[in-house]
Symmetry: C2
Subunit: 230 residues, 2 copies
DNA sequence: CCTAATAATTAGGTATGCCTAAATTTGCAG
DNA sequence: CTGCAAATTTAGGCATACCTAATTATTAGG
């Protein structure tokens, strides 16, 4: 009967599937194909099929699934996914603000703990932090009621024009990249000038009033979201 | 391959077996019989046998086990058990001191989280708390190196004489009892006068300078450890 | 010393979640 | 329209950690 450990009803695995479907389906909740899930979760495609069938067959299903045509979250699934995301981002903020974690270490710890904290814990750290709206990477923290207002930021990688922007958020997926961005001053809220779109499919940028320019690869530019200057 | 979720190598289950063996075997590390483990962990005796065989057969075994004659921890097992206890008690202290948890809610949360926090998390909350030596129930927190100095406190239930004592610790196992003790002022460090050993196998006691006496059942008296007045 | 109760072990199952290999299905190119 | 490649599903397994029922050991009383 094992594989729980949870404060709530779901397993860590189920939570991670729900989060992945939310993330890959985007705010509009597009259907997500098994292959993307398999990649995102680093499991075999067969394992995904298996899990989706189980989730869809449950008494009150967390997903809507049709053979060969992908999944999307049910209302209940979306609610749970947003709760886990809220846990994740509150924990990240807490580790960064209260426990003085280095920015590049918060994600891994949050990825684990998000499944195991109680509602009380969630409520207490939120209170301690003054009910923050964004996490240290610049990502929105869903509300207790499960709402998340999206920024209409765009990926730096999608910018063709030169110009000045405000950094909205940076990806937390890769600790190494994050460390480098932090070192370069590329953190949420900073002002970023895009000097030119270099030949080698990258960018030359500078931060704040600094005249020091440096290069970002196309790869890295996909991990940075920006907004027009206010 | 599942049932992990852990920051370290063991599963939650294994950790809980090790902690139970440490606790039931006492500081001297007496052999523990399967039945006690089954009761403590709320699993069937057959499940205990199964687990002990697996733990003992591992490449570097966490326990020494002989059929029909109980288990004790190996050096490695003891080290890990003490680490989990350290996690548990640091987390309790943290929840109580930093997150303002009610005393009777810290145990349940710690019982879960103790298995999932990283070494960094352990180190950071210890630092935040100023490297505390005892938890909110009065229990010693093992050091990072795996040492735990035992108090030579005795259970109130073992006191025959009347007299005045200092409360060393209270059990965290039952939230209800804990809430009542807290309400009566029975907390670590408080001064306790034992008035009489009542007929119905209980105690009449008072706290501090108060003249108000109240009764404690023999049951409850087993959950309180005391020291002679300094 | 023998027996009966108690403790422990073995045998045979279940559920979760994952894997590989062997079918299927789909959808696109020619 | 066909045929192939990519995506998906099915089939068959494995590991963890439980459970119940049946069997075997140990041990304390008489
Ligand atoms: Mn996770
Ligand atoms: Mn984040
Ligand atoms: Mn535990
Ligand atoms: Mn405690």
């Amino acid at each position: 009967m094992p594989a729980r450990g949870q404060a709530n009803g779901n397993t860590e695995s189920v939570d991670n599937y729900l989060k992945a479907i939310l993330s890959l389906g985007g705010p509009e909740g597009r259907r997500v194909i098994s292959k993307s899930l398999a990649e995102r979760l680093s499991v075999a495609p067969a394992s995904v099929t298996n899990m989706l069938q189980k989730l869809a067959a449950a008494p009150s299903p967390l997903v809507e699934y049709e053979r060969h045509r992908g999944v999307k979250l049910s209302a209940a699934g979306r609610r749970r996914a947003l709760e886990v995301v809220r846990h994740h981002r509150l924990i990240e903020t807490f580790l960064y603000e209260v426990l003085d974690y280095p920015i590049d270490e918060v994600h891994e710890e949050a990825e684990r703990l998000e499944h195991f904290i109680s509602e009380r814990f969630e409520e207490r750290i939120a209170a301690k932090l003054g009910h923050p709206k964004i996490d240290p990477h610049g990502h929105c923290i869903p509300t207790m009621e499960g709402h998340m207002q999206e920024h209409d930021s765009i990926r730096l990688a999608d910018v063709v024009d030169e110009g000045t922007f405000v950094i909205d958020s940076v990806s937390d997926r890769d600790a190494g990249t994050l460390r480098q961005l932090e070192a370069s001053g590329i953190t949420p809220g900073a002002r970023l000038r895009v000097r030119k779109h270099t030949a080698l499919d990258g960018y030359s940028v500078s931060i704040g009033r600094s005249s020091k320019a440096f290069d970002l690869s196309q790869e890295t530019a996909r991990d940075i979201r920006i907004l027009p200057v206010a």
